[in-house]
């Protein structure tokens, strides 16, 4: 018992004050990209060429956050002359087209579907379905339940049964072998329901694009309400997305 108390004392109080107090991520974290429209054409092409994900359109001068793995190759190859990653983790969007960006993103809170706020603003129960990724997306969703993030204090929980859920968070590129189970889970959730795609795998197939075993974007199978970019999205990105979209 004494040992339990000693440990309790040593561990202290760890829950973050977010959203009231901001959380800052370290310098090397790569969040919302900023694109320089005045960059020389050859620099832009060099960035597009180096990208393993074909996420950069050199003609339109855009970056597709749905395809991007935030590897930072495009930034370092050109010393940030075209793409520069900021430490801003608030990068989720409600419309797929908004993933293709020049650096500015619409305010998620105002673009959220207002009826969702009404239905789910005080209590949101989510069923998570992992469908073919690398499991890092699930891992960083799971940590939302640890003391620092403490998602439950906002009335948001992950539940075991789709019957108890208001919506579904899907991670992974929806492998062929998970498609049926995913669709059945979706069917089992009562209306009205919300679908959240988290991670570049669920947004575009991610690093597995081109494999016949996967789906290149959850939105090809189901209507998606909220898109959370990242590989994986930082837990703060999730937290910001959930709070802005539903609160």
């Amino acid at each position: 018992m004494l040992s339990i108390l000693k440990n309790r004392f040593e561990q202290g109080y760890r829950t973050s004050g977010y959203p009231k107090t901001p959380v800052c991520l370290p310098a090397r974290y790569r969040g919302r990209p900023e694109l320089n429209m005045d960059a020389p054409v050859d620099v832009i092409h060099a960035c597009a060429d180096v990208c393993p994900q074909e996420a950069i359109d050199p003609v339109a001068k855009t970056l597709d956050m749905g395809r991007c793995m935030f590897c930072g190759d495009c930034e370092r190859i050109a010393d940030g002359r075209f793409v520069r990653f900021t430490q801003n983790y608030e990068i989720a969007v409600a419309k797929k087209t908004d993933l293709v960006t020049k650096g500015t993103l619409p305010d998620l809170a105002r673009h959220a579907k207002q009826h969702f706020k009404k239905y789910f603003g005080r209590s949101l129960q989510l069923r998570q379905v992992s469908a073919g990724g690398c499991n890092a997306c699930e891992a960083d969703l799971n940590v939302l339940s640890t003391p620092f993030f403490d998602l439950a204090r906002f009335g948001i929980n992950f539940v075991a049964s789709p019957r108890h859920a208001d919506g579904m968070v899907v991670t992974g590129p929806v492998s062929r072998n998970m498609k049926t189970a995913l669709l059945q889970t979706y069917e089992a959730i009562p209306e009205p329901k919300v679908v959240i795609a988290a991670g570049c795998c669920a947004l575009s197939g991610g690093p597995f694009q081109g494999s016949p075993e996967i789906t290149e974007g959850l939105d090809r199978l189901l209507p998606v309400d909220l898109f959370i970019p990242g590989c994986p999205p930082h837990p703060m990105t999730h937290l910001h997305a959930l709070l802005s979209f539903f609160k």
Binding site: Q11, R14, I77, S130, A136, F148, A160, F208
Partner: protein, 505 residues
């Protein structure tokens, strides 16, 4: 019988022409002989050679040495599994990937549920237009009081999909059958067709919790094929991040085990401290899992002096907290009572199945790639030989606690001196050695991870074979559940915490 297998080294490319090409009979005899002399299978797979012939390749390890040999693949051949259990899953994989039938295989069942790469008749008679794996007769048990529990593919928590079929009598599990394949992304064939700039992005996502383990296997293989040599600082940073990965996973799992025995303080503290280890990796490379850190030729980030001091400071603060929480967990009698004698795997079963990593070490098999086939910074470190003997949850937990303390020591020592490295950027545009074979091994946190690349006469990737440690260990979990109460499944599951996606590739 003269030994005809060729000795090779971890991470050193050899000409495929030099690798002994045996008759199938000799290949089988030699391989079985080495395994019965205590050898273990590192890789065993089929590949299509130039000219369309399908061949088999094996890589074995025996007391500190690696050996390779190949042969033409017959369409049907007498199963090696009939002689030695450790070939069991490898042969099923070969049957699934290339449509080759091992005759007399004790349990010929598909592995990941996909059509074979050659377009030949399916060995299992599956129709892949039906997209649910598991359409085959499960092992059944019948009799009074016998029942089945089916779980998954979608599980209750935020975890990966897989199907578990428990045959029980009352509360006691007679057999647990594990059917995976739901996370199958077709990574191996994808790797031989993509633009080389995608290779590292794909391989670091084989299993996200083993990002560094798999990135290292990939980078070292490419380095061997391209003649690249990472500098000393890069080796240090690789070692450091592999240990941070081990720490995050072990600490997280120990917390989860504590949660599963309803001892909540360590569960919460470990969850938080796991995050602190992930955040140390975030500090180094901007990603909590180490994605984007390791690349062929070195690492992409330097360790500035400020960063080194920051990491050392954070570790200094964490170390006593970790020690205290782990001793709280291990010294609480009710925890010990739940873990001891639960889910025992015998030394012999672990040996026959070839269990690796902490799962193997818990059963008395001290094999550790860091000691036996060291790469990166491990050549300069002294990794002690260590194992437990009881093979139960308690042993697996003890091994992992020990490794946590050991890894903290390693990271501490690596942070003592300045780390000087020139970051690498994209894959240099130099050729890849033609007609070569390279095998790499690393001690990922679950055990031996291995990649094997074969190149063709033009220096293109002919075959990319990935083996996650979980490929060896899932059967260990099944064995642990035999005669164990079904309510002890979570403890056994968490003490192994195997990878679905690493297995499914």
């Amino acid at each position: 019988m003269a030994m005809e297998l060729m000795p090779i080294s971890n991470g050193v490319a050899v000409s495929r022409k030099k690798v002994p090409h045996l008759s199938f009979r000799d290949f089988a005899d030699q391989t079985i002989q080495m395994v019965s002399d205590g050898g273990k299978v590192v890789q065993f797979f089929a590949y299509p050679d130039e000219g369309g012939k399908v061949r088999l390749m094996t890589v074995l390890r025996k007391s500190g040495d690696l050996f390779a040999a190949g042969c033409d693949a017959p369409d049907v051949y007498p199963a090696l599994s009939a002689e030695a259990t450790c070939f069991h899953l490898f042969e099923r994989e070969i049957a699934e990937q290339y449509g080759i039938r091992p005759d007399g295989h004790p349990w010929l069942k598909m592995v990941r549920y996909h059509a074979n790469y050659r377009g030949v008749t399916d060995v299992f008679g599956n129709d892949y237009a039906e997209d649910i794996p598991g359409r085959y007769p499960y092992y059944t048990v019948s009799g009074e009081g016998v029942h089945e529990v089916a779980v998954g593919p979608v599980h209750a928590g935020v975890i990966e999909p897989g199907h578990f079929r428990f045959n029980c009598i009352g509360e006691r599990v007679l057999n647990l059958e594990i059917q995976l394949g739901y996370q199958h992304r077709g990574i191996e064939p994808l790797l031989t067709t993509v633009d080389p700039k995608r290779l590292s992005a794909i391989t670091e996502n084989i299993a996200g919790d083993t990002t560094i383990g798999h990135s290292l296997c990939h980078a070292q293989a490419m380095e061997a094929l391209m003649g690249l040599v990472p500098d000393d600082g890069a080796q240090t940073l690789r070692t450091l991040s592999l240990e941070l990965e081990r720490l995050a996973n072990h600490v997280g799992d120990l917390g989860a085990i504590s949660g599963d025995v309803a001892f909540l303080p360590p569960a919460n503290y470990c969850g938080r401290m796991r995050g602190d280890f992930l955040n140390m990796t975030l500090l180094i490379c901007g990603n909590r899992f180490g994605k984007g850190l390791v690349r062929a030729g070195g690492v992409r980030f330097s360790l500035t002096e400020d960063l080194r001091h920051e990491l050392a400071g954070r570790l200094g603060e964490l170390k006593p907290q970790v020690r205290h929480v782990l001793s709280l967990l291990m010294n609480t009698p009710s925890v010990r009572a739940r873990l001891e004698d639960c889910g025992r795997v015998s030394f012999e079963d672990a040996d026959n199945l070839g269990l690796v990593g902490p799962a193997g070490r818990a059963c008395g098999h001290p094999y550790d790639v860091r000691r036996v086939f060291p790469t990166a910074g491990y050549t300069r470190l002294d990794i002690p030989e260590y194992s437990e003997s009881t093979g139960d949850v308690w042993a697996r937990v003890s091994v992992r606690c020990q490794e946590v303390l050991q890894s903290i020591g390693i990271v501490e020592s690596l942070l003592e001196t300045a780390v000087d490295t020139t970051p690498v950027h994209t894959l240099p545009k130099i050729g890849i050695a033609a007609d070569s074979l390279v095998v790499t091994l690393n001690e990922a946190w679950r055990g031996e991870a291995s990649h094997c690349i074969l190149t063709d006469s033009a220096g293109r990737l002919l075959r990319y074979k990935i083996k996650d440690p979980s490929f060896h260990n899932w059967h260990g979990l099944s064995m642990a559940l035999r005669n164990t109460g079904i309510s002890d499944f979570p403890l056994n599951n968490k003490s192994h915490n195997l990878s679905y996606c690493g297995f499914d590739v």
